[in-house]
Symmetry: C2
Subunit: 418 residues, 2 copies
Amino acid sequence: MDLKEQIHQMGRQALAASRQLVKLSTQQKNQVLLAMADELTASEPTILEANRHDVAAAKENGLTNAMVDRLTLTSARVTAIADGIRQVASLNDPVGEIIKEWTRPNGLRIQKKRVPIGVIGIIYESRPNVTSDAAVLCLKTGNATILRGGKEAIHSNRAIAAALQRGGEKAGLPLHSIQLIPFTDRESVRHLAEMDQYLDLIIPRGGAGLIETVVSLARMPVIKHYDGICHTYVDKDADLNMAEVIVVNAKTQKPSVCNALETLLVHRDVAKEFYPRVGAALAEKGVEIRADETARTLLGVESQPAAEADWTTEYLDLILSVKTVDSLDAAIDHINHYGSHHSDAIVTRDEAAAERFLNEVDSATVFWNSSTRFSDGEEFGFGAEIGISTDKLHARGPMALEELTSYKYLLFGTGQVK
Amino acid sequence: MDLKEQIHQMGRQALAASRQLVKLSTQQKNQVLLAMADELTASEPTILEANRHDVAAAKENGLTNAMVDRLTLTSARVTAIADGIRQVASLNDPVGEIIKEWTRPNGLRIQKKRVPIGVIGIIYESRPNVTSDAAVLCLKTGNATILRGGKEAIHSNRAIAAALQRGGEKAGLPLHSIQLIPFTDRESVRHLAEMDQYLDLIIPRGGAGLIETVVSLARMPVIKHYDGICHTYVDKDADLNMAEVIVVNAKTQKPSVCNALETLLVHRDVAKEFYPRVGAALAEKGVEIRADETARTLLGVESQPAAEADWTTEYLDLILSVKTVDSLDAAIDHINHYGSHHSDAIVTRDEAAAERFLNEVDSATVFWNSSTRFSDGEEFGFGAEIGISTDKLHARGPMALEELTSYKYLLFGTGQVK
C-alpha cells in the first residue's frame, strides 16, 4: 500500500470512528479519558524508553539544547501529561449545548445545538506532549483525530498515542479514534491536507514553514497561529506608573511566548516623562532596545536605531522595538499595519480613547490597562487551550473546547409542509 | 497595471475601507443602506439599459431560456432588489453584541464581542441581483466586499455596483467599501483566492466547477455550498398519512432548489402499506421514480431501477430515487454515506428513533416530522440569507447576518500584570 493510500485508509477509519464518537455521552467520554490517563501512567517505562531513542538521535543530529529539552520526557513530565488528561475529564463538555431555541409561526421548533466537528488533523513539531494534549481535547469534544508529529519525537509520539488508544479502548473508545501517522516525510502532510473527503479541519502547530505548507495545500479549513507581534500603546493620558509596570511585565516576564510585548508605542506628549523611566526599568532587566530617534534621545540607555523590519519581527527574546507616535490614530494605524492581529494593549485613563482603541485595533484580543500576557486560554479560565488563533473565522484568539465544536439545526415538526 | 496588480490594489482599498466601516454605527449603516436603495431605484433606466446588453449577448451566445430568464432584469425586479436592501436595513445588526462577559479572579473583565469579519470576496455566476444582495448583507455587518460576477451579467453587475457605491457614498459609505472586479477572465478568480493578505473570507456561489476552483486555490477560509442531496426516511413507526404529505411536498413543491427531496428511504416493515399510496401520489405529480427491486414491485407505478449513481445525484427535477432499508441504522448509514450533509428528515412517532436520527445524521439541518423545504434562512426567521453552508466550520446551514461576523476579546484591566 503506498503512502497516499495508507493515509486515506486512516481517513476512512477516522470518519468511521467519528460516527461512533457522536453516540458517546459526556460520562462515557470522561471514563475513556480517565482510562487513558491511567494507561499512560502505567506505560511510563515504555514511553521513557521510546523517548530515549528520540533524545539520543536528537543529540547525534546536533539539535540545540533548547530543542533537546523540549523533546525530553521524564517521569514528572509523563505524570504531568496524565494529570492534564484528568483535568480535561473534569471540564464542562460543550457538546449537546442548546445554543439557541425558538419556534416559528408555523409551529416548527428550531434548536441550534452544539455538536462535534468530526475528524480533525493536527500537524505539529517537536514536543511529544502535544500528542496527548491535542488528542484529548479533540476526544472530549467527540472528534476523531489524525496526528502527524515531527520526526524528532516519532518514537515518543508512537508510544504515547498507543497508550492513549489502548487505555481508551478498555473503557469503550471506538477503534481508530486517535491515529498517529507512523511516518514523518513531507509527503504525508500533503496527503493529509488534500484529504477533505475525510478531514473537516486541519490545525498546524509549529513554525512559519509548516504553516505556509499547510495553508497552500489544504482543501479543508485551517486554523492557524502566525506570529505574535504584540503592541502596548502608552497614551498621552496614561497613568505612567501603571504603564511602566505593564510594559516591563509584558516584555520580560516570559519573552519567549507569543503574547509577550514586541513593540512599544508612546504618545509624543508623554515621551519626555515616560521614556527615561521605562528606559531605566527595561535596562535593569537586560532588554535590548531598537527605537526611533525621539525615543533613542530620551530613553537614556544604549539603543540601536529601529529598521523597518523591526516593526514586523517577533523577537521572542529580550529585545523591544520602540516608536513615538503623534496620536491615537497613528498608534492604531501602526498596529493594524505592522501587527499580527494577536494581542495589543492601550494604557490610558481616557475612556473614549480606550474605546476607540478596543474597537478599531483589528486583533483577536485587545487590552485596556493590562499586560498582553493574559492572552491565554488558562488566563481566560478556559481550563485548557489547543492554541491561539490569529484567524477570524470560527476560532479567534485563545481556542479551547468550544472552538473544537460545530453546530447543527434540529427542526421538530408535526407534519409541516411548505 | 497587470491583472494581478489591479486586483491587489482592490484588496488594499477594500482593507482600508473595512478599517473605516468598523467605525460606523448601526444607524449610520442603515442610512447608507437606505440611500443605496434610493439610488438603485433612481438608476433603474441605466441598469435596465446595461442589462439589455447582457441579455442580447446571452441570446446571441445561445444560452438556454432558463438562463436568459435568470439574467433578465425588469422594472419589477429592480424594485424588488431595492426593497431587499430596505428590508436588510430594518434587520437587527449583530455587530457589537456582547456574546459573553465574565470577570477573572484577578479582576480582569473579559468581553467576547461580535465584530465585522473584515474583507469578504464573493464569486458568483449569472444572477445580477446577487451583486446587491451579497454586498448589502456584508455592508450591514460592517464588511467590505470584492465582488466577482459572471461574464454573462457583467454590464448589469457594473451598473448595480456603481449605483450602490454612488448612493452609499452620499450617506457616508467609505470609498471602496463595495468593489466589483471589472473583468471576468478565470485568472481573476485565482488572484482573488490567493490574496489572503487582504481577504479574510471567500464565498463562491455557483456550480461545482467554480467551487472546486476556489477550494483548490484559496489560501483564506472558504464557505461553500456543494450539493443538496436531501433524504426523507419513513420509519416503521411513521404516521403514513403525514409521511405521504411530507414526501410529496418535499419532492414536488419546488424541485429545482437545494432543499428539495432527492432520495426517499422507507423501512421494510411499512413498505407494503406505504409504497402503493406514495407511488400513486407521486405519479399524479408527474414524478419519475428510480428505485430498488422491493420498491419497484410495491410502488405500483412505472419506474426505473436505481443505479449506484442515483444515490449521489442532485436531480433538481421531478425525479426521485427510492430505497428500502431494514433499520434505522441502515437509513442513517445511507444518509451519512451518500448524502451531502445538507438537510435530512425522519418521519416517525417513535421519539427514541427520532432522537437517534437527529443526533447521528451528520447534516446541517435535520428534521423530525417535517418537509426538508424549511431549510432556508427566511423560513428560519433570519430575514435574509447569503446562502446555505454545507461546511462545518464557522457557518453551517442557512447563513445569515450573524455568520458574516467574527468576534474579538476585550480585556478591561486596572493595571494587571502576570
